[in-house]
Amino acid sequence: MDLSYSPEEIAFRDEVRAFLDAKLPKEMSDVIRAGGELGKEGHDRWHAILNEQGWLAPNWPKEFGGAEWNAVQRHIFEEECAAAYAPRIVPFGLSMLAPVLQKFGSKEQQDHYLPRILSGEDWWCQGYSEPGAGSDLASLKTKAVRDGDHYIVNGQKTWTTLGQYANWIFCLVRTDPEAKQQEGISFLLIDMNTPGIEVRPIILLDGTHEVNEVWFTDVKVPVENLVGEENKGWTYAKYLLTHERTNIAGVGFSQAGLNAVKRMAKAEKHKGKPLIENPHFAARVAQVEIDLMAMSTTNLRIISKAAVGQAPGVEASMLKVKGTIIRQEINDLARRAAGPYAMPFASEAVEGDNMPVGPDYAGPVAAQYFNNRKLSIFGGSNEIQRGIIAKTMLAGG
């Protein structure tokens, strides 16, 4: 057993650091460090910088223009990016749809869509969930009826993250209403500019607009936009989910969040002393840090298995549950550290050329705490993950 990175891995890490040092725009990392979000333009810009470096698609095979890094390299990259407050890479095209197209898509689809994902020409969003189909995704109802060389799509998707920026959506649709639930589903690529599509914003509890409802009324979709075979969509959807769960532990995010909490707790004074010296607060911080140290190693243990080709199974679920609990706990600590200055509504108190309200770190923390309640809900809720974990032990699964 050797807990240190190999010389090659260290060299790789140094290369990543040097790149981030040179190429990550400071005004961008400032926004992320302050808990802000980039708009579409900001995302596009970072996307282009990574693409130029050839690092935009670490998980893609070289033949499609990817970096083909192994799991340890990807982990190092993600960790360094989080530490440098680089923007999160929007995953829908790059790490969700692309692997599906690479494995199940036609040659035409691969040739057409993959380069456009890299160039940033297309912004994809994920049309899985529906109002009645959340955890029970297979009960989805959005219908696609074959009519000559088109499908006619009717229905509603919801929780579509950043759908307001997207020009394409990959959808699960029901193509055989008679078949058993999971057998009548197809995987369809839909141009958001097709007549009959309406995107309606959903405002989340912290005032942000990051998700949407997407309505389909008699939307005509060419049959060549079907991925793989009709009614086999569930297989592709499940394959996509295994990719959705990469970097699921979010160790880098947690580490950056914990560092931020410590910085805040050094600046905040409690009875004349820094809050970090308050034994109760310090104990809470220490406990999360202890959890994070262990999870970081759990994560690496699983990653190094994956690096030699063993697919993570139930471990991904474990990382999801523990990783989200730790991140949410860190968000809670940040909220507490801010004290009364957690109360202002960030987007209006922090923004504009008005006088700032409170220390700059305090503004967004309560909003982030509430927003990150989503971590344990989406991508398969923590209850669903616990169900998966238990099943492997108890039902011989």
């Binding site: 607060f281 004290g339 209850e383």
Partner: protein
């Protein structure tokens, strides 16, 4: 032992609950939150008319209540409906300070307040004071018969709507309070909405000149009155959180019974049933904590009981808010759904007059004494 409400309080509770259910709908409240003022003058008038403000004062103060359980009844209902109007700041805190310390003229303001004609705000916390009541750096200098104030106050809830601010400052080694009419030269505000509704402001005090008559009570001697009033505010906050927790629990119960996934109501999954059971247990504990805080308010156990209640409510409140969101799934994350606002109210009460950790430390200190 008798844990029933008196007839008067039962009536107050019923009336207020009915009023808020009919008048203070989610839609109405969201409109109020989005408005420039951040509060509704109309609702305020109606609350005054119902006697909600009067219930927070004793008869000799011009009200008809004023005890711990009156506070608890009123604020539990306000919490249940997620009310953002500043009953706490105008009536309980500032009204309380005026009745504790005010001379005849200053007490006149209480009458106006109870009638609904007046708004007030306590400008006490400062950028570096966190939750410590005695951490005040704002200074006065005596300039002949005038007083000159300089300093900065942080997150002053209801400052923009207030007709008068009650401002704390340091003098002669102690704490003093002053009644400062809004618009007094040298007072400037930077207002903003708060995450859980309502508005607050940073208050800048630059050479604010006040007559001697602005002083509330004796110079340098205001801390113990302030502590007494903040103790009442803590009962209110605990009760408000409890009311909000009840709404969160009720909404969750309803959702578990109606939301179907995998062909059955999600409330049939034992994993969720047990979580719900834990919420119900914590709710009962929270109710007892509020009863303790309210019931011991006028005794020498006051501070310990309050620290205990706010610590417990802080923990239980976080659990209830987070679990209610989790058990709802995505829908609870949307701004327009009732629970989102209620969950924010619960969690954000923790940022007023001491959070869970602060009250834990208070409890430890008071237990050692």
């Amino acid at each position: 032992m008798n844990f029933d409400l008196t007839e008067e309080r039962q009536m107050l509770q019923d009336t207020l609950r009915r009023f808020l259910r009919d008048r203070y709908t989610t839609e109405t409240r969201n409109t109020i939150i989005d408005s420039e003022a951040g509060l509704s003058a109309e609702i305020w008038g109606e609350l005054a008319e119902l006697g909600v403000l009067g219930a927070l004062f004793s008869e000799d103060q011009g009200g008809f209540g004023g005890a711990g359980f009156d506070i608890a009844v009123v604020f539990e209902e306000l919490g249940r409906a997620g009310v953002v109007e500043p009953v706490l700041d105008t009536a309980l805190i500032c009204g309380g300070l005026l009745t504790e310390l005010g001379d005849d003229d200053q007490r006149q303001l209480v009458e106006e307040l109870i009638g609904g004609a007046l708004h007030l705000a306590l400008a006490h916390s400062e950028p570096g004071s966190r939750y410590d009541l005695d951490a005040v750096e704002t200074q006065i200098v005596q300039n002949g018969s005038d007083i000159v104030l300089n300093g900065r106050k942080a997150v002053v809830v209801n400052a923009e709507a207030a007709d008068h601010l009650i401002v704390s400052a340091r003098e002669a080694g102690g704490l003093s309070l002053f009644v400062v009419p809004s618009g007094t030269a040298g007072v400037s505000l930077r207002g903003y909405p708060m995450l859980a509704g309502g508005r607050a402001a940073e208050v800048m005090l630059d050479d604010v000149q006040l007559p001697e008559s602005a002083r509330l009570g004796a110079g340098g001697r205001a801390l113990s009155a302030l502590e007494a009033v903040i103790a009442r505010a803590n009962v209110a906050l605990a009760a408000e959180a409890l009311g909000a927790m009840e709404t969160a629990t009720a909404l969750t119960r309803e959702y578990l019974l109606t939301r179907k996934q995998f062909g059955r109501p999600i409330g049939t999954f034992q994993a969720l049933q047990h979580r719900m059971a834990d919420l119900l247990i914590e709710m009962e504990q929270a109710r007892s904590a509020v009863i303790n805080a309210a019931g011991y308010l006028e005794t020498d156990q006051r501070d310990k009981q309050i620290a205990s209640a706010r610590n417990l409510i802080g923990r239980a409140g976080r659990l209830v808010a987070e679990e209610a969101i989790q058990l709802h799934g995505g829908i609870a994350m949307t701004q327009e759904y009732e629970l989102a606002h209620i969950a924010k109210r619960i969690v954000m009460t923790d940022h007023r007059f001491g959070d869970t950790d602060y009250h834990l430390e208070r409890f430890i200190e008071l237990s050692a004494a």
